[in-house]
Amino acid sequence: MAEFFQHIINGISVGAIYALIALGYTMVYGVLKLINFAHGDVFMIGAMVGWYVARWTGESRDPSIPGALLVTLASMLACAILGFVIERAAYRPLRNSPRLNSLITAIGVSFFLEYGGQYVFGPNPRVFTVLPRHPGLHVGPVSLGYVDVVTVVVSVVLMFLLQRIVFHTRMGTAMRAVSYNSTVASLMGVNIDLVISFTFVLGSVLAAVAGILYASKYPSVQPLMGLMPGLKAFVAAVLGGIGNVPGAMLGGLVLGLAEQIVSGYLSSSWRDAVAFGILILVLLVRPTGLLGRGEAEKV
């Protein structure tokens, strides 16, 4: 029975990371209807910048909590700029062209970051140590990593914060307006460029946080690290209902739990097959995802 609880705990901690990445995915999609495939790579850049800043400030030699916060802030800032630049340079010129063009561009940006990253950073994994080492908590036979606790707390807090921004601020109202109908929103005086830039910056900042936490949990940072988590987070976002913030959280957790249960009781070789199998099943039964709502046709 102890193993079962341990698998559940492991699943939640993996799921929280997926959820954190999925939040950024889902938000950009919610506003732009664009699947930003480069999100996983922004996440990689977040971790990479974190590695450099940590080395520069001496955080990687002597980790401390304030130091970790500083590293996270620096990486958030770097990713915010990156998100802004990506939107400005790659997506904005295509905003009025067919959606497929933006999708292909997103894949292009993703490759650009991955292989540009290999060129700039080199393909060798670097060891990431930012948070102070801690043996973790042991509750009876069940053990709980300290990074896992931080991850779960941070992702829940960010989810509520995001929900608050989207539904209770002027910017959030503008985001929803653009999402509903950007032409009408601009007629009503909403600055669309600003809203979309803001969405990208926010999404990239979330990716940076996820990157730092992921790298703290799995301390090996390399340019292709964003590939698989990015895909999984995409699955999580679709699973929960893409465009829906709590849905991303739910999707992440479901995926994380499913993976750990499969690895634990079946075989780790089946893990990814099951993850993507779940996606297909959910889409067959509920095409809009677990929490997604079917959109009324705009006439």
């Binding site: 341990q6 060798n124 994994p125 973790g136 634990g264």
Partner: protein, 402 residues
């Protein structure tokens, strides 16, 4: 006809290639340019230290031979291609070296999976290939042009099992292997065979796939089984992460592994979690043998004080073995070098005396190393194949009292 034309063109192109190949294979005996040896290695990627160390070892050996006048009056040159740790790239690199660089022989790869991708290309072109460190038996089974300079996994599995049984005195061992890696799967199997023969028990077997970063589910199951040691025959990046997560999961027993652990990155990634674990390896720079100490001194001098890991030592031996065969060969064609290589007997390598058996595999001793605080690998013991006597001058004899 329209359909036939492209295939005809392709045929013509093929014929042209073939001709070129023959040109290089039938190297005229009085050629004077440098002799080019091809090397394929993972110079980048998650196993980058494997490729880099090997390249250093090979270069050191080749430089020494050149200083002594080269082979048959000609200089030696190494052409290195990076495969980024990808099997397909290794095969492409081998093809490229053979077809466009006209190499007389190939050195590489370190990883068994990648060597197995290279081997058919070498075999087909009749270019002898010597892998310095691929320990999976299947590698040399790919053909009679494929050789190696290291011991094979059945022996390494035996060393791990013997050490667990005799030195650690454990009876229950769990296994965590990489199912997408021929080396890992083979080593796990050989360990299990040898360990159950000593009367030990394998109480849990779990697997992961190369590139995974989360091993918690498997480790949770392993912890529940309550092993006295955990055998992880993987590569250092994965093992480092596994060690960390094992300690987080509350597994406190030592980890055991094979030569895939050998990299300074192991400690960088694993940190204190990996301290106190053991792995079998080809040699130890701490071995007091004069042969080894001389090599360590030369290597340090050439590479700014860097201590050679076993990949470097093996590569040095592989290059030495190959050049030794080239000197003995009647000419520098593939078949002649192959025959000379196959006849290798008592070649005095750094990692031991190398005599190839009929399957082109050497019989050599192995060492067991312990990961100590600060990432140093301490020499624990040396294990000889059953029936083999410690060779004179290769040292470490004191440790071989077993």
């Amino acid at each position: 006809m329209r359909r036939i034309l492209p295939s005809l063109l392709a045929l013509a192109a093929l014929a042209a290639c073939k001709k070129q190949d023959q040109g290089s294979g039938m190297m005229s005996p009085n050629a004077t340019g440098p002799i080019v040896i091809g090397e394929v290695g993972s110079m980048t990627g998650t196993e980058a230290t494997f490729g880099l160390s090997s390249a250093n070892g090979i270069q050191l050996a080749i430089d020494e031979f050149n200083a002594k006048g080269g082979v048959k009056g000609r200089r030696l040159e190494v052409k290195v291609l990076d495969d980024q740790g990808r099997p397909e790239e290794a095969a492409t690199a081998a093809t490229r070296l053979i077809a466009s660089e006209h190499v007389v022989a190939l050195l590489g790869e370190v990883a068994s999976t990648r060597s197995m991708f290279m081997a058919p290309k070498a075999q087909q072109a009749k270019v002898p290939m010597v892998t310095p460190s691929s320990t999976n038996p299947a590698v040399t089974e790919k053909g009679d042009y494929i050789f190696r300079a290291c011991f094979i996994d059945p022996f390494q599995g035996y060393v791990g099992a013997t050490f667990a049984h005799d030195n650690l005195k454990v009876k229950k061992v769990a296994i965590l292997k990489d199912v997408r890696n021929d080396y890992s799967v083979g080593l796990a199997k050989n360990f299990i065979d040898a360990f159950t023969k000593t009367g030990g028990q394998i109480i849990a077997q779990e697997s992961y796939s190369n590139g995974d970063v989360d091993f918690k589910a498997q480790l949770t199951n392993i912890k529940a089984a309550g092993p006295q040691a955990l055998y992880v025959p993987g590569y250092y990046t994965d093992v480092g992460l596994i060690a960390r997560q094992a300690r987080e999961a509350g597994i406190t027993v030592p980890l055991l592994g094979g030569d895939g652990w050998d990299s300074e990155k192991l400690y960088e990634i694993g940190g204190d979690a990996i301290v106190g674990s053991y792995f079998s390896n080809h040699y130890s720079p701490d071995d007091p043998s004069p042969r080894i100490q001389e090599f360590v001194a030369k290597y340090k001098k050439a590479y700014g004080g860097q201590v050679p890991d076993s990949l470097a030592a093996q590569a040095y031996d592989a290059a030495g073995m190959l050049v030794d065969a080239m000197k003995r060969a009647k000419d520098l064609t593939g078949p002649s070098i192959r025959d000379a290589l196959a006849a290798t007997k008592d070649y005095a390598g750094v990692t031991g005396n190398i005599t190839l058996d009929q399957n082109r595999n050497p019989l050599k001793p192995a060492v067991v190393l312990k990961v100590a605080k600060g990432g140093k690998y301490e020499f624990v013991t040396k294990v000889y194949p059953e029936g083999m006597q410690p060779e004179s001058g290769s040292g470490g004899d004191a440790a071989a009292k077993k």
